[in-house]
Point group: C2
Chain length 472, copies 2
């Protein structure tokens, strides 16, 4: 049948599925299949049918049967012969399911000024650099790398990531201790499953934290222990009696409160982990963005044998491409590679290699450096306007990250601020309404300064300051 | 500090992480941090240090402290001043972890001729079309689409996929019933978890089948029921007494045996599913590739309310990019979207939109059509040589897919064939040694004709025919 392929393509613009029933004369089965295709909208009005000869060859029936079917359908008005040859569908389908115009991408309805925390401005995704990296990847990568590969990640990316994480983030990591994921979320999901498969049933998490993390921990089946956070970070002393096998932390900048885990607590956390053989999960979700003071070492560097460190490009480049990583103690490598294999076999090789190229060329460093400047300027503008217009508020967590938090006196005030903001088209998150807490919620506003497009940021900060000044 | 950023970049080619200890005089803390960076290899031999002024500003210490630290390190021989200004690292790091040349991509060691089943030739990935699609996506996609979006998938892709699946695969599906995944594997993993969360504890699968699917079903915690396969496909009558809540099938072309599920069994399978409210999981892993006879309708089209249909680009374009889909009964949409969100938030938007572009432009159809021709030619060559050189073998499952299977008389013969093939550098899979069966394994050889590069395929088939002729 290979020889009919080119002709069939010439007639049929696209690949048509035509199913013949199993019973009845050939011509009726063809009629019926075509009628169904037209009725269901798979063959739309004006669609061109293959010639009787081509269709007969294609479905392996006699040409006479096709001629008979076409003539019956034509008599019924489904199809019509065109001047100059060719047969086209004459009627619009009765139901047009799937034929309507494609829905537009979701937007945040009614939001003029976006201060959602921890979301980077999607407008800052480095489109040009990503395309250039991918062009190079597609030009240079050998065929053998484009199939199924190591579920732990492509060797080139693991190498470049190890070099980068050692140099820029201070990690103590070799390529052999890295698993490539599609983002921090996948990494956490894989870790929680691997822990469950290795007998852990109880996991601690900071309180407050992103509600999705608590939900995920429970979803995987773990009992959840909440660690309160004070001005020195999470109260890690509470781990001693907790019986947990792992703890999820944001030690470098607690999310959402913005405090740093104190050196003393870091040491006692790692002591605890070593003593009980527990795993510390370090979420370095925006560690690249520190503006004041010197950067601090990740926990992982202090004890690579006790810490699983997770990072992602979602906050540095954007969430449109999906690459993340876990730096793991050696003993956790096999369990995590297994989980990754069960989850999705491998992360996109093309996106892995595009990131490799960005790391290798220095474009990744340059982008982060540029964005650090952008974020710092945005933060400075926000802090300046808050200090001027709402001096009563004390923003905290300002030295790093992509958001600040301001405490307000009570939950009613928080609700009033959020309601007023909503009326002005300002997206914000509340410490209480945002479900960062499960109990004894503090009242406060989390202001993310990275999400808004460049052109509306300054106006957004003005509008936000007005709302806050009126409500607190 | 923003004003120092450009100068710092000028001196420091890349972003360096430098951690100062908390105690002791400033100059000693800087010394110690730099010494550690050199010793650990983060600052390699010849790496240029920033000027004392820039480093002082960067880490917020007095310039005198940096000058003192540099002079001490210089005295110790760690760093050296260069003629014409600038200071560079003088010594190679003691340990060079992470500094070795990047390991090369994994290759199948010792394989000259690759006949692994169900793996497409990675050399046929449409590099040019993918890049062109992505260029267009990056030029045209609004910023708002490049952030976090609908975990079910981008609306444009769901629309184009629905149109394609209806037209080319005969599915009865609307965009609202599609969830975008990263491949069939992820889709199956999400389905099995959603089933478990909805009270299903027992899942059936064809026997034989890919061993990874059995492992995944058990991994998620389900009890496994094996459905034997005969010449009419899986023996679905055994489902009646099994108590399973779902069954995973390859009805259009049983993998690895290649038989089709008979019309009668299709009907009784769907009757059973409707009666018990069970879910049929249809793995249409290579349904695009049918060479002889007319294509048959997916099960999903017969009853969209009882079937979850999974597909992927891994077999049509290749596994280097990761996009797949599930067509689901409406009642399963929310559970699956939830699982997808927990698993990884979303599939890469860039890869989703690149596929959308390929579907829209017709390039996806053209690629499949081209590959269908390539596969058919490869299959024909294989069948011809087998018929000529080893007429005693009866290849089956030849009408579709990317592999054929030949039964051999016993497990010893299978082992002999595989051993002889290995000696000749031929990768093959055995029905028995490949763990397709859990019990009562048949002996046979599964020959995948899609995996090998074009240039070595013909020679590979010759070599394979010789091995088979000698061993059976």
């Amino acid at each position: 049948m290979a020889k009919h392929e080119p002709r069939r393509r010439a007639k049929f613009a696209a690949d048509l599925f035509l199913e013949l029933g199993a019973w009845g004369p050939q011509s009726m089965r063809i009629e019926s299949a075509l009628r169904d295709a037209i009725r269901s909208g798979r063959l739309g009005e004006g669609a061109r049918l293959p010639s009787t000869r081509v269709l007969a060859a294609e479905i392996g029936v006699s040409r006479n049967s096709v001629v008979a079917a076409y003539s019956q359908l034509s008599a019924e008005g489904w199809i019509v012969g065109r001047r100059g040859g060719g047969t086209v569908v004459a009627v619009a389908p009765a139901q047009t399911l799937g034929e309507q115009a494609p829905p537009r991408p979701l937007r945040k309805a009614g939001v003029s000024f976006d201060f959602s925390p921890s979301e980077p401005n999607p407008g800052s995704f480095p489109r040009h650099e990503w395309l250039r990296a991918l062009r190079r990847v597609l030009a240079q990568t050998p065929d053998a790398s484009l199939g199924y590969g190591d579920p732990a990640g492509h060797a080139d990316l693991r190498h470049e990531l190890a070099v980068y994480l050692r140099r820029a983030r201070g990690l103590a990591v070799a390529p052999e201790n890295l698993v490539v994921t599609t983002g921090f979320s996948q990494g956490l999901s894989l870790l929680l499953r691997a822990l469950a498969h290795n007998g852990v049933t109880k996991v601690a998490v900071e309180h407050p934290c992103v509600p999705g993390h608590r939900a995920l921990i429970r979803r995987v089946g773990h009992e959840l222990v909440l660690l309160d956070v004070d001005e020195h970070g999470a109260r890690v002393a509470e781990l001693a009696e907790s019986g947990v096998g792992a703890v999820l932390l944001t030690p470098n900048r607690q999310h959402p409160l913005g405090v740093q885990l104190s050196p003393r607590r870091r040491a006692s956390l790692l002591d605890w982990a070593r003593t009980c053989g527990a795993l510390v999960i370090e979420n370095d979700y925006d560690g690249e963005f520190r503006y004041d003071g010197h950067r601090i070492s990740p926990l992982q560097a202090l004890d690579p044998s006790a810490v699983a460190y997770g990072g992602t490009i979602a906050k540095t480049l954007g969430a449109a491409a999906r690459v993340g990583w876990l730096a793991l103690p050696t003993s956790w490598m096999e369990p995590l590679i297994t989980e990754k294999w069960y989850a999705d076999l491998q992360t996109s090789v093309l996106e892995q290699l595009a990131l490799t190229e960005l790391l290798r060329s220095g474009a990744y460093d340059r982008h982060i450096r540029k964005m650090r400047g952008v974020h710092r300027q945005r933060r400075d503008l926000l802090l300046e306007l808050l200090a001027t217009k709402v001096p009563v508020l004390q923003p905290s967590g300002i030295a790093a990250g992509l958001s600040v938090v301001v405490e307000v006196c009570d939950i009613e005030t928080e609700a009033a601020v959020l309601a007023a903001a909503r009326d002005r088209g300002i997206a914000l998150r509340g410490l209480s309404q945002g479900n960062y807490y499960e109990r004894d919620a503090k009242a406060g506003i989390v202001i993310g300064y990275a999400a808004a497009p460049d052109h509306s940021y300054a106006a957004g900060v003005e509008a936000l300051a007005l709302v806050l000044a009126a409500a607190v």
